[in-house]
Symmetry: none
Subunit: 195 residues, 4 copies
DNA sequence: TATGAATGAGTCTTCATTCAT
DNA sequence: GATGAATGAAGACTCATTCAT
């Protein structure tokens, strides 16, 4: 018997749809709450498809986390480009941070990965990725310590946003970053001297 | 339908044991993953006891979160005392932050509450509590903006610790806090010693 | 330790309160749905009291059913008195039926007992009680068959009321009863001759 | 988490089996007492099958009640046919009532629906269905009032049967119906033969 | 290959009943 | 005797996973 219209033949696309749906759901309801059924419904695929492409739900979750990390990476490319264009002054970084808070997707993706990483060591490396890249970006100009301090502050800003309705004002972020990165510090050379 | 020996009768203690067990498990595996059975096993009480004292699992979770918040509060009292004794210089604050990273309990408790608050608006206020109190503590000396920036940085430090095996060095924290809190930095030399 | 005020010493009254509460609940939510906790709450007695006076919940239910039957009996006395005063003409009977539909208590009590009797043979006799007494009341005047037919019709009226919002009009009842009891039948003697 | 052999794949049949089992059990033990486990055992399907086909036990009950109503409807068709063939004289109606008391299924189905309707308003309409249709059948010949009175009497007969071991004799029913439906009674002599 | 029916383990929750206090 | 804490059996329901089709 022919059960309705034939499904299009594109396993890769379907796999991607499933992973994307799972990633969205992880962000929205948390990794623990995601089920095969939810993913199938969100992706618009039959239940069987979710088990066809991934042996276990945990495998599907892992793939989704990797997808989330890629989203974060994509944002990082934008950051890299902006810095190449406009420099890495505290004002530019602050603007980037402030704007990124509008981009719920990437920020939430990062948050989801970090949150899950607390209880799942396999996700640790993924969770560190964004921070590490950001530090690498700032290191040439500001040195490792200042770069890292800025990155830690930026992470703090993100978390602050997650549990508050109002986000920090851009000038506030800029001032703090300026202090951390050395704009108003007398001896930036001392910091960059730190290996 | 009653088999086996009954246990002692001390409702208060039993309730406390159950809440403590639930709080521990929330910290260890996350609030979503906690089940009645896990709590009962951890607390060493029969399954029925966990539902006897709390109408729903959600009620139990709430009680556990309150207990976690109290742990955080207890730590806050220590912080307040230390500041009263030794002042609120960046060095003192940095020392407090560094030491607190040893106190897995309170830090993890805070992290658990904040993490859960992302998906549960009812926990938002609880999650903001520690940060807000700490800001209040620093505000008289440093003003609202610097106090808040310091608090955000400290939160960032905590999260950094949660997804990394190594924690930031104390001098690193101190330098960053000194920069954020103002120019009255007492020991800038220490910062350059950061590895 | 003295736990609050001493309870009054009247086991009989307390037992009655419990049974009354159980009877009310059986009428309201059905015998199956009644629990110890519900009864205790309704009666305003501690949970333990409900198990103190009755070995099992089933025993309590039985007592409640007996109480319901007694309520029905009490109504029967009123009926008997009315008939003694005003005769047992179809008009009087119809008036009694019509009025009784206002008395939710007794009607519902009867309904509850009959309903439960369908699945519980032990309640059969109780369920038959009201009907049988009513037949006995009418038999001397109308004979067994007409009395029984009237009683069956009256039961039908009651059930009709239970599943409809509007109740039959009094004249409708009176007309039907008159037909069944013989007012407009030419040979009432024939009916009474049937033993 | 899959052990043992799978069963045949015929969703429609399986759904029907489950509903039928539930309907039987509702008739036998009452709607309140029915559980998933009972239904599964009766239908010979695993526990999970009962929740696979119906989101909640209440949905399953509803489906079962609809099935019971269909049984009643089926009987109604037989009644309609008989009346078309043999007329709607009291004797014919009485014969139908008397015979129907043998058909435990339909009568019990009706009783189960009516009983449940007392506590569940959603079932009211279903419960009224048989009565209403029967009234419609008799109305053209006897008028609304007499038809309704007959219907109410017939309901009373059914209930009488449910709480008694002996059922009313056919002549008894016929006589009563003749009285209720009018003076064109064809065989009043039969009534006096009632034991 | 793709689908969704099938199964039972495991979840939350309620409650009769027992019995320590 | 009176009270309510204690316990586990049982109920509704969810869902990962398997596998027939």
């Amino acid at each position: 018997m022919d059960h309705g219209a034939r499904r299009r033949r594109d396993p890769e696309a379907r796999r991607r749809e499933i992973v994307t749906a799972a990633a969205e759901l992880i962000v929205e309801v948390g990794a623990e709450a995601v089920t095969h059924r939810m993913v199938a419904a969100r992706a618009g695929v039959p239940l069987g498809a979710t088990t066809q492409y991934f042996d276990t739900l945990d495998d599907l979750r892992s793939a989704a986390f990797r997808a989330l990390a890629e989203e974060v990476d994509a944002r990082l490319d934008g950051v890299r480009q902006t810095i190449a264009d406009r420099g890495d002054s505290p004002a530019v970084i602050a603007a980037l941070v402030f704007e990124s808070m509008d981009d719920a997707h990437a920020v939430q993706a990062d948050r989801a990965v970090v949150t899950a990483a607390v209880h799942d060591p396999r996700l640790r490396e993924l969770a560190r990725h964004l921070s590490d890249r950001l530090v690498e970006l700032l290191e040439p100009t500001y040195g490792a310590d200042r770069a890292r301090a800025a990155m830690i502050f930026i992470d703090g800003v993100m978390w602050s946003m997650h549990i508050r309705d109002d986000r920090p004002a851009q000038p506030f972020i800029e001032t703090a970053l300026a202090r951390l990165l050395g704009d108003s510090v007398s001896t930036p050379s001392a910091a960059t001297a730190t290996p």
